[in-house]
């Protein structure tokens, strides 16, 4: 599987399989967890320092709940791998990156050239998000 | 009869399956019988049509008449702008829709 994962991290891929959110909250010595769409990512906040991988599932690419899950986790200080999995398409990946996802396990292969163009197309952004991009209001006012 | 319609992918024009290709004129529609789904799938995959669907229609002296008003409006054009319809010179064409 690992070769199908697109990563934007320098550390080694985490090998432990992700357990479900309920299983994690039951036994909680796992270091990888999977959050389904509709599950409340805030339940993970007390455990973020012991997690190395959080996988957020996108059952359909139009289901945008995972974007909020990612923001919530990053805003709570999660530094580990945050992976978008499932129906992840190239045209959604820029916003996913901006929401804090740094790895992707798409159901269907992604064309690397299209992805590269998509991620680098916009020179500026309007909002602060989970990435390092500086919003234009900050550029305007120094 | 069953006929197959959709919109041209690149232009959006309303098109009708003629048995061997697509026409902008409903009167050139072919009866697709039970083959509509299969043709629709092939043609959509080949990107010759967008959103194909099968409709009921009847054949009368005026040509082929889709059963539902929506498809008659598609076949002709907006009833409020008959000057933009496929038959701008025919003042009676609006009554065909209703």
């Amino acid at each position: 599987m690992a070769e199908d994962i697109i990563r934007f991290r320098d550390d080694e891929p985490h090998e432990e399989p992700a357990v479900s959110l309920d299983a994690f909250l039951d036994q909680s010595n796992a270091t990888a967890v999977r959050v389904e769409a509709g599950e409340d990512a805030r339940r993970l906040i007390p455990f973020l320092d012991r997690l190395a991988l959080i996988e957020v599932d996108f059952p359909r690419f139009r289901d945008g709940r995972g974007y909020s899950s990612a923001r919530i986790l990053r805003e709570a200080g999660y530094k580990g791998e945050l992976r978008a999995s499932g129906d992840v398409l190239v045209d959604q990946m820029l916003f996913m990156r901006r929401c804090g996802f740094d790895s992707f396990a798409p159901d269907a292969p992604i064309d690397p050239d299209v992805l590269d163009a998509a991620l680098n197309r916009y020179p500026y952004v309007y909002q602060t998000a989970a990435d390092a991009a500086v919003p234009v209001w900050k550029l305007r006012h120094g | 009869m069953k006929i197959l319609t959709g919109n041209d992918l690149a232009t959006g024009d309303v098109i009708w399956w003629t048995g061997s290709g697509w026409s902008r004129h409903v009167e050139e529609s072919a009866d697709v019988g039970e083959k509509g789904d299969e043709i629709a799938q092939t043609e959509a995959a080949a990107r010759r049509v967008n959103g194909p669907y099968i409709i009921d229609a009847s054949r009368d002296e005026a040509g082929i008449r889709p059963a539902h008003i929506k498809d008659r409006i598609r076949a002709l054009g907006p009833t409020v702008r008959l000057d933009l319809s496929l038959k701008p010179a025919d003042p009676t064409v609006g009554t065909w829709v209703i």
Partner: protein, 544 residues
Amino acid sequence: MYRYDHYDQAIVDARVDEFRDQTARRLAGQMTEDQFKPLRLKNGLYLQLHAYMLRIAIPYGTLNSRQLRMLGHIARTYDRGYGHFTTRQNIQYHWIKLQDAPDILAELATVEMHAIQTSGESIRNISADQYAGAAADEICDPRPWAELIRQATTFHPEFSYLPRKFKIALIASPTDRAALRWHDLALRIVRNEAGEEGFEVFAGGGMGRTPFIAYPIRAFCPADQIFSYIQAVLRVWNSHARRDNIHKQRMKILVHDLGHEEFTRQVEEAFAHILTLGTDFPRAEYERIAAYFAPPPFETGLPDEIDRADPDFALWVDRQTAPHKAPGYAIVNISLKRVGGIGGDITAEQMEAVADLAERYSFDDIRVTHGQNLVLPHVRKQDLYAVWQALDAAGLADVNLDLVTDIIACPGLDYCSLANARSIPIAQKIAQRFADIDRQLELGELKIKISGCINACGHHHAGHIGILGVDRKGTENYQLLLGGSGAEDTSLGKITGPGFDEDGIVDAVEKTTDVYLRERQDGERFLDTYRRIGVEPFKEAIYG
């Protein structure tokens, strides 16, 4: 008005490039229609009955002459010589080719326009009071905040795949000209006791098959925190809305299901958190934007008198102009509701005529209204006669603002793939029935709103008289609603009873107005009489 700097321009240019690439990939078969559809919708491109339809954003309904001329150019070059203004102050073209769409966007970008987020499950173009900056009754110009919110909600990475569309409206007057509380998020600029500007917030409004009037959820949000607050609302909805039934995914359904108290509690919890993240735009950015909306250099010492010798002109002045905050100026309403025409439609030549007038007489400023008309916001009263003559020459001097022939109607089954019945022919028949101007003036303010299906794009829930077209066993059928309002006295219309055919609905409207004329008391509008006497006398007249 606001002008792009190189940042804004670079973002819009990148969007053109992105859509060109997406379109090419679709045409080359690298994307399915299911994958492409949300992408084209986020760019305002629908597949309608006869062609693709492109909806172009007119942020808070403000245009300059260069932009309006470009819209005329697009009508002529890529469409069939006309466009259609919408109830959310945008413009749409009904005969667009997918293969042309990237070029159209590129042309729009040259005049600081785009089609970003004009459809799809995204934060839509923000709408606002069309009299902003001119209205005698506004507490401030709402457009700087509207522009700030436009930027903040453009390509928002967390909220671009929402459960459904999300519409924001913003006003700063006690008079509501923007159908405020029919929006998902409704903002009214108010001042608190300390005199500070902030926002009164309403949430969960919307029409469609399950209409709700937005609930008040916050009496005062400090102005500089509004983006945090909007994000809090969106996060609660995005996280918790249903995703299993497209008809239950609008925010109004969540607000209703949770109850507005619980919804408000969750928003406040999220707001407290998001405030700590530093995402709000600083005051300096507001001030930068506000500088673009400084009042134009109004002349002083202008006369307020208008020469009313020409009776046709006097009639037009009385109906189509509104009080301006600056002495010697007036707000001019241009009707796009000619009897026999199509409401909201405008030809390329008419766009150019209005652009010329705006440039010459209105500080290069044009507004699009929620009622699908146009406004020249800043006209010297001494120029009104010349403006009227020029409008008349362009076929734009009709007198019917807020009268029975000033009908809002959706495109309906003549154009729209969702519609069940035609709307425009009904509007035309009603307008013809009531064409006599004396009769219209006798009836006074009377807002008729017609939708061709339950999605309610023609705002039938909010019409003093509403009409809803349905498909009854393959034939068009029209239901009558009474008592709705999209103004500050917002209310939801009620269906009177069984529906009618095309001629029957016109008769029913006329009988409804007859009851009003019989029952009204001094100074009562139709809506006031309806509210006082209730639906029964009307039902008796219509069905009795």
